[in-house]
């Protein structure tokens, strides 16, 4: 739980949170939505509002034993139930057991004219009836702004909305109010209802850049509580919504002091023992500097210790990798046959960023490897903006670290740019960074290797020449290039 900031001498009361049960969202919000208060969930059409709202209710029932009311101004009960059925929730059972009260309010169904003054006590009565019916602790009001298009007296609707939200607060139910985004400059929602919901505002966004869709979430406001302020990518998976907190995965990974072999004796020596187990290692270099060879050596060493290694190849097929490594004397096929080495080759272009991340997650979860290789990560930027890739990448790194999986990432440095530059700009979050270069000297190409950084490891700071031959990689013991 996030701690509320305390100002002055008086201790500020901590906002009580109601966990959503939505993966990642509770991390960002420091425990969930403000309990007993309304939260505004805002986003454009197709941004995932309804699904998130539904999941909030469903998880409330299944995980926290809190019943819920779902008031929908847009979708029918059947549509809503069908939507979440795909996530594996049988709403009919919840409905039959009176855990959920779903009310569809179709304002267009009845022909009506407005005469004099009115209020929305009818709506109040319906909500209250639902809450009492199931003893609801949570409520979703989905699309309440449609009231504005059916009733002409805007001032009355505004007054009544204000009254509803205040009344809900008094009832102590945690409310999630969804609203269509945009339209009016200077306001988040089309009708500015954020004015009446001041405790927490969550914004969902669904963008398509270069034909690839990315979903994002951010907390615009959370009164009295610390919250993540970034934009977080999220996925709609088979299990519902999954938000990827970037900084919420606190820096509390167990830092292992155990070292694992790089697969190359002389490189081990340079690190005085090898990579740290569970650390993140970045290998960068221009084309043809031997990045894939270096990671394959590592894969070879991991499997040689009878441990599982997962190799995500974004440029070459599994067969190409096996063949190439065979040519320098490494038998990867043997490990594949034993089930120790799994090579997953996929063109990043084929899937959107979110699907990509999801697929990797699923495979890693399933295989439970000791080491993971991503070769190269620079290829991922073809499926999203630099920022998107970085966000996704940090999430992967965090995830692997938390699970104590040693991870090697390669990145291609464009030939003409600084050797220290990586496309995805993630070198700062890496524990170890190895730089490979091709230098031309005396009419010959010379490969060189340099350990740019290695957190917590004593390491050689020399630039070493190395060769790749039929017998594999051979690093010069003590050469120093100019």
């Amino acid at each position: 739980m996030a701690k509320a900031t305390s100002r002055g001498s008086g201790k500020k009361r901590q906002v009580k949170k109601s966990p959503t049960g939505i993966e990642g969202l509770d991390d960002i919000t420091g425990g969930g939505l403000p309990a007993g208060r309304p939260t505004l969930l805002c986003g454009g059409a197709g941004s995932g509002k309804t699904l998130m709202a539904m999941e909030f209710i469903v998880k409330g029932i299944s995980m926290f034993k809190e019943n819920g009311v779902y008031l929908s101004f847009e979708e029918s009960k059947n549509e809503l139930f069908d939507n979440v059925a795909s996530l594996g929730f049988d709403m009919d059972v919840f409905d039959a057991q009176q855990h959920i009260f779903v009310r569809e309010i179709d304002l267009g169904m009845h022909d009506f004219v407005e005469s004099g003054d009115y209020n929305l006590d009818g709506l109040f009565a319906q909500i209250e009836y639902g809450i009492d019916c199931v003893g609801a602790k949570r409520i979703v009001i989905d699309g309440i702004e449609t009231l504005f298009s059916h009733f002409s007296r805007e001032s009355i609707i505004r007054k009544e909305l204000k009254r509803i939200f205040r009344w809900l607060k008094g009832k102590g139910v945690t409310a999630l109010i969804t609203s269509e985004q945009g339209g009016t400059p200077g306001s988040i929602t089309r009708h500015g209802i954020e004015e009446y919901i001041s405790d927490c505002v969550i914004i969902l966004d669904h963008r398509i850049t270069e034909q690839v869709a990315t979903r994002r979430l951010h907390i615009q406001k959370y009164r009295g509580a610390r919250h993540g302020t970034n934009e977080y990518p999220f996925l709609i998976t088979d299990n519902g919504i999954s938000v990827f907190p970037i900084t919420a995965t606190q820096l509390d990974h167990d830092a292992s002091s155990q070292q694992v072999s790089t697969g190359i004796q002389k490189l081990d020596d340079m690190f005085r023992g090898g990579y740290y187990k569970g650390s993140s290692i970045l290998i960068t270099g221009t084309a043809g500097t031997g990045k894939s060879s270096l990671v394959s050596y590592f894969a070879n060493a991991v499997c040689g210790d009878n441990e599982k290694c997962l190799y995500f190849a974004f440029e070459e097929s599994a067969r190409q990798i096996v063949r190439n490594m065979g040519s320098i004397g490494m038998d990867l096929q043997g490990f594949i046959d034993k089930g120790l080495l799994k090579i997953h080759a996929a063109r990043p272009m084929l899937q959107g960023l979110e699907m990509h991340l999801l697929t990797m997650h699923e495979i890693i979860e399933k295989e439970q490897p000791s080491a993971v290789i991503l070769d190269p990560v620079s290829n991922l930027d073809s499926i999203g903006s630099v920022l998107d890739v970085k966000l996704m990448f940090i999430r992967v790194i965090d995830y692997l670290k938390q699970n104590g999986i040693t991870a090697l990432y390669t990145a291609l440095t464009p030939g003409d740019s600084m050797p220290e530059a990586t496309d995805v700009g993630v070198s700062s979050i890496m524990d170890t960074w190895i730089l490979l270069q091709n230098l031309e000297r005396n009419g010959q190409r010379e490969r060189s290797l340099y350990i740019m950084k290695s957190r917590g490891l004593g390491h050689s700071n020399k630039i070493r020449k190395f060769r790749i031959s039929d017998n594999g990689i051979d690093i010069d013991t003590d050469s120093q290039s100019s």
């Binding site: 009310r103 009506f112 005469s115 209020n119 006590d121 009818g122 319906q126 009836y129």
Partner: protein, 97 residues
């Protein structure tokens, strides 16, 4: 819930709390009923606070709502009712007599 005779004018007034406004609206409806509808009316006041199920069943959002049924047609008039002529025109009743 209304009379089976489609010729009957059924007026159901949904309110959230009976007030002097309610009494005035009922009196007006009774007057219209006698004057224009040959007394073929059923007038009923429903307090949705006492009877929230009716609000759910009939999807009452605003109060007061006057729900009129006649010859299988339904019409809703939302808001306070105080003007007879206005009400007649909203109900679609010819002011012949």
């Amino acid at each position: 819930m209304d009379s089976n005779n489609p010729d009957t004018w059924a007026f159901h007034l949904f309110v959230s709390e009976k007030s002097s406004d309610t009494d005035r609206a009922v009196a007006l409806l009774e007057q219209i009923c006698q004057q224009y509808l040959e007394g073929k009316c059923q007038i009923k006041v429903v307090d949705i606070r006492e009877n929230p199920v009716s609000a759910v069943e009939l999807n009452i959002i605003a109060t007061p709502t006057l729900l009129k049924r006649h010859m299988g047609c339904e019409k809703r008039i939302i808001g306070s009712i105080s003007d007879k002529d206005k009400l007649l025109s909203r109900l679609g009743i010819e002011m012949g007599g």
